[in-house]
Structure formats: structure tokens, C-alpha cells
């Protein structure tokens, strides 16, 4: 291989490497920007096993280490700086279910199938708030300063094959997410 050809190959190599670095930076910056800016816009329920490898949900995989097949992990991205959030729905038929929120990796209060209060129609209303009110059931205290977070619903060992009915998500009398069967 003559020196000229070797120099050309080396140039292709380092220019290709540079191109890769540029593409990675471009992709990562674009992804982070879209992820951050879209937070709370058009929220919807995302499930770990079903949705984790979709491009728009890749960042959520940091919340799903060590998940297991007995449990469905449903999350919805919300903003607590715009007011309290209410989940409204009917309990899923399952051995265990709970809702909580995660701003980072910490543990927070939760409401589960043993602690939930239901109304006469069997519906629950779970309120995530930074300003809990006395005598209101199913309140989850959101830590002061938390602006954005995910609400997570765990459903363990559902009792039948039918799709789960997910709760509606409301904020300031606006329905952010309609209760639905996925």
C-alpha cells in the first residue's frame, strides 16, 4: 500500500470517527431537548414491557431496572407545578396494585389496593398534592419543590386476561389523559 493510499484511508477513518461523534452529540442533544420540552404535553400511559424500546420512551428505562413479569408498570409524565393531579378510576382486578410518583429514584407515599378508599360506585379519586387537605381520602403528598415527575401504577398478577382499565388523569378540572383500556 503506497503512502498516498494509506493517508487517504486514515483520513476516511478519522473523518468517519468525527462524523460519528457529531451524530451522537446531535442525536443526544436533540433527544434530551425533545424529551424535556415535551414533558407534560399530550401525556399518556406508558407501560414498561410494552413500550420501553420505543424511541420516545428510551429515557424511561432508567426507571425500570429489575422489573418482572408479574407486574405491569404503567407511568404517565406529569407536571406538579401546574396544580394537584387527580387519578380517577375503578380498581383493577389484581392481587396487588398501587400508585405513587417518582421525581427521581426515591420512595414516596403510595395508595394501594388495601389502603384505597372508594365511593359508593366503586370509584377511587387519588390526589397528588403539595398542599394536602384534612379529611380528604387518598391523598399523596408531593414533596415541596417537585415540579415534574412520573406517576406510576403497579398492577401485580391481574386476575383475568382482559386489558386493564387505566384511570383518568385530571389537573385543574382538565382531563389530561382519558381513562382507557390500552
Amino acid at each position: 500500500m503506497n503512502a498516498n493510499r494509506r493517508a487517504r484511508l486514515l483520513a476516511i477513518l478519522w473523518q468517519g470517527a468525527l462524523l460519528l461523534v457529531g451524530l451522537i452529540i446531535l442525536f443526544a442533544a436533540g433527544y434530551v431537548a425533545v424529551y424535556q420540552l415535551s414533558w407534560g404535553r399530550a401525556p399518556h400511559w406508558i407501560e414498561a414491557f410494552r413500550d420501553r424500546y420505543k424511541l420516545e420512551n428510551l429515557a424511561e428505562n432508567r426507571r425500570w431496572p429489575w422489573i418482572h413479569q408479574d407486574t405491569q408498570y404503567w407511568i404517565v409524565r406529569v407536571r406538579f407545578d401546574k396544580g394537584p393531579i387527580t387519578l380517577e378510576g375503578t380498581p383493577p382486578a389484581a392481587r396487588y396494585w398501587s400508585v405513587t410518583y417518582y421525581a427521581a429514584g426515591e420512595q414516596n407515599d403510595s395508595v394501594n389496593n388495601l389502603s384505597v378508599n372508594q365511593d359508593e360506585d366503586g370509584r377511587y379519586y387519588i390526589v397528588f398534592t403539595q398542599d394536602p387537605q384534612p379529611d380528604v381520602p387518598n391523598q399523596i403528598l408531593v414533596r415541596p419543590g417537585v415540579k415534574r415527575a412520573v406517576i406510576e401504577m403497579r398492577i401485580t398478577l391481574p386476575e383475568n386476561e382482559d386489558p386493564i382499565l387505566l384511570p383518568s388523569v385530571k389537573q385543574n378540572s382538565t382531563i389530561l389523559v382519558e381513562g382507557t383500556r390500552p
Binding site: 468517519g16 460519528l20 451524530l23 429489575w66 418482572h68 426515591e106 398478577l157
Partner: protein, 166 residues
């Protein structure tokens, strides 16, 4: 055309290098990070309990975690079934992913006449009711989750015994 002949070989190089980087990340970097963050705190010989504030997960659960290494030993986990709404025990690889055949729960595990469960972690399938099959994944993490125990303080960590494979 000139632009294409310039960009295509460089793009091909970028793709090949990207694939190599991705494989390095998957096979070397992620296991190394998991090892640094989790595995060094855990033991092959006993479970460590993690619960309370500052710990990730659900406040409804007691989490017990340990390491396994099934390259040269069969790991036997023995303990009383916890009094809880639900409990499970599972093994995970060095990328925090569940392993097919590596999951048991309170309905699938068999409790022996002595009132205890005996679960084996081994490379080959055994008694499906009481075997966690690690397959070719040599090392990783065992997690036992106990949800809504009647008394969280009364949840006992199972014991671990390792028997060398001859």
C-alpha cells in the same frame, strides 16, 4: 455525486465504529456500572435488606437482595414464606434485565413439608417449581420482593448456601 463519494465511506466508518461502541457499552460499560453501583454492596452469602426512605422502589415492599454466581456453584436459597399479600424471588443479569426462567412467586414456588421453600439457582432447568435457571448468564443479582407484609419487621431473609459444581 462527488459529495456522495465523499460522505458514503465516512458514513460507513461511522456506522461500524458506532456498532463497536454500542457493543462495548452493552457488554462492558453497563455491567461495569452495575457492578460498581450494586454488586459490590451485595453478598454471595447472604441477603441484604433495603427498605425505608432513600431507597428506590415501593414503600409497600420489603426488598432483599444478594448476588449469585452460577459459573461454578449451585446456589440454594432456603427460608420461610413471608406472610404477605404477594412475594416473589427472581434473578437478574448484569444489565439489570430479568432472565427467562429466573422468576418464582408465592403461587409458583413449592413450600416443603418443613414449612420452608428451597429454591436452586443453577444453569440447567430443574424442578420448574423451585429452580431459577441462570442459563449462560454467569453472575447477577437476586431480588426478593415482599409486598404488604403483615409485619415488615418480621420478614426474615432466606439463607443462602453455595454448593460447588464438580
Amino acid at each position: 455525486m462527488k459529495v456522495l463519494t465523499w460522505i458514503l465511506p465516512r458514513l460507513a466508518v461511522a456506522l461500524i465504529l458506532g456498532a463497536i461502541l454500542a457493543m462495548l457499552g452493552y457488554y462492558v460499560v453497563v455491567p461495569a456500572v452495575v457492578s460498581a453501583n450494586y454488586q459490590k454492596q451485595l453478598s454471595l452469602e447472604h441477603f441484604i435488606r433495603s427498605t425505608g426512605t432513600g431507597v428506590a422502589g415501593s414503600q409497600d415492599a420489603v426488598y432483599l437482595a444478594a448476588r449469585y454466581d452460577c459459573r461454578d456453584a449451585v446456589t440454594e436459597i432456603t427460608g420461610p414464606p413471608p406472610d404477605a399479600l404477594y412475594w416473589m424471588i427472581g434473578i437478574y443479569d448484569n444489565r439489570l434485565q430479568r432472565i427467562p426462567g429466573g422468576h418464582l412467586n408465592d403461587t409458583t414456588v413449592k413450600v416443603e413439608e418443613d414449612g420452608r421453600f428451597h429454591v436452586l439457582i443453577q444453569q440447567r432447568p430443574g424442578n420448574a417449581q423451585n429452580t431459577l435457571e441462570c442459563g449462560t448468564k454467569g453472575t447477577g443479582i437476586i431480588i426478593m420482593r415482599v409486598f404488604l407484609p403483615s409485619d415488615p419487621e418480621a420478614v426474615l431473609a432466606p439463607s443462602i448456601q453455595r454448593r460447588p459444581v464438580r
